[in-house]
Subunit: 393 residues, 2 copies
Amino acid sequence: MKIESVDFFYLSMPEVRDIGDGSQDMLLVRVRAGDHTGWGECEAAPLPTIASLVCPMSHSACKPVAASVVGQRLDAVEDIARISRAVRENSLDLLQAAHALSGVEIALWDLLGRRYETPVHALLGFSRTYPKTAYASALFGDTPEETEAKAARVRADGFRAAKFGWGPYGRGDVEADAAQVHAARAGLGQDALLLVDAGTVWGSDVEAAAARLPALEECRVAWLEEPFVGGALESYRRLAGRAATVRLAAGEGAHDPHLALHLIDHAGIGYVQIDTGRVGGIGPARQVADYAVRRAVTFVNHTFTSSLALSASLQPYAGLADHALCEFPVEASALARDLTPTPITPDADGQVAVPEGPGLGLDVCPEAVRGYLLDVEITVGGTTLYRTPALTT
Amino acid sequence: MKIESVDFFYLSMPEVRDIGDGSQDMLLVRVRAGDHTGWGECEAAPLPTIASLVCPMSHSACKPVAASVVGQRLDAVEDIARISRAVRENSLDLLQAAHALSGVEIALWDLLGRRYETPVHALLGFSRTYPKTAYASALFGDTPEETEAKAARVRADGFRAAKFGWGPYGRGDVEADAAQVHAARAGLGQDALLLVDAGTVWGSDVEAAAARLPALEECRVAWLEEPFVGGALESYRRLAGRAATVRLAAGEGAHDPHLALHLIDHAGIGYVQIDTGRVGGIGPARQVADYAVRRAVTFVNHTFTSSLALSASLQPYAGLADHALCEFPVEASALARDLTPTPITPDADGQVAVPEGPGLGLDVCPEAVRGYLLDVEITVGGTTLYRTPALTT
């Protein structure tokens, strides 16, 4: 097959609020080749990512992403790696290209799987898949009471694990943060797994993060996520050395598998969290998962949006029995929910199964989200480089 | 002062060729506050970077860059760091924001320097500056003969150091590469400093790079630049261990000072090359320079475009006597040359002085480059988010 088109669609909730909810807009990717269509999603700011798809060339290592994809052959798994390498090389100096590539790469896997009527995890070489324990991923409430109620609700919904993050956490004092964590544990009950996400709030300040460790360990929090920005390897390493039971988790910002490997090698993390919509797609995420296995670090997905993004994020470790946790967004927007009529849902035991249909195993329903589509037009030097295409299958 | 406006201008040569010449287009930044104007330049793909300035908010950690800058107070050096921190936090998930921030941060330094009639290097705390030995930065010729002629010309022009890179290097066999390096040495003469830039051509393949070491060492090449992509720390470390006299240089792609620190800590490099137009601006570049001093690594600028970009890239190590090399683009486009009527030029001894005028010490002449300006218009959901502003002082 020859890749005929790569289209990006900017979808958005009518109102985007100033909160840590990444599901309020979406950059949907459609790739067409032969008689087949593949779907993907970039976990990215839509407008700059669209611009990186279609911008004029700046020089030989700063080309638009589309230039390395459209017209390429796509017949086998190796073609996806070849196309991805071309994007990395030809768009080396185009920073945003990594996020654009991620959604495109996911759509290429979906397309190839649909053509061969095979799930992506099988194309990746996994002979079987293992269900994952879904952890409900939610924002901290504005008050401990609100957090406790949220946690109780999550538990009542059947989840056996939950993560709370962002909101007020890390923005007040040590006691306020402790109250939030204790509230989450109280609402969740003693037997569920509790995780906390600090959302890089302490920058690289080890002491600020270390002051929160006692409450986290008292409440048997399994991981503290992103106390620091992703690049602060040394701060991570020092904090990891001061924690008794809580492990550190990081990696969601990695826009290249190398960055995740650095966290594994030099930051002392216990969990590496990969967003396939940022790291370059499913292939690079699989590379990180394989490396995590070798280094006894647990791989886990990062996903805050749709079932499409969730399926993509599950593929790279679908066959790894010992890597058994899965982020599951419980507060996703209507936009993220509407994209797939039969979304991925946890079973009564709080387990999520990796979809078994061809490609990413999900029906994508463009009609259901057409109301969220934003018309975008980009013109440079009198030439229209992008105009929102018709959103159809 | 209050920051009143941040404007981006996309300038381009009439024809952009598919070669490794990064001066073929330009993203010029103008910041206005009080009665003052500051200029900066992003080393970035212009269109996605403009999009990152003006895009709609996606969530609390994915906001357009302008939102964290316009309206802010700018009275002291500390304000620049505060504004930069705000951009990093508020645009955490917007990858391209780092490149946008870089040009804006440079313009803030220029503006502050003009207001206080002080050079930026003095604002940075340097009590004096040291001239740098300019190395002529050029592309390899298509043939060894062409490279030798280029090298001879560079030497005749008074340069005491030269770097050749990109073009055919690393794309043919080991012998072809050796012939290119020998040609460069022959043209340059025995006493000049010779540097080679592989432009990440070997990805992470240590053996491919190691096969080139004998010719590089025979020709007394001082550094081999970017044999691998920036993230391949382990490949760098292994290659460094196999080199006898040639040192490794890297860092130009760092869009965050952390990434440069990782190269210093874990990649065994001898030279760290920082582009202020990518790393977040002059402040972050200074952080890297300070760290390089502590770790006995040599700091050097990366610049391939205008005198404005060159001045910005010299400021972070202007006062460091032992860090005495400076990349000087000798094949910059007419666009890059026309921006400043009195450009930075090496003296008869091949030395470059850091400009001593206020701010970046250069007159920026918008009238002279107006012919290169591209009209850009970006509309989302019926609202025009960007239209090329009038290019005036």
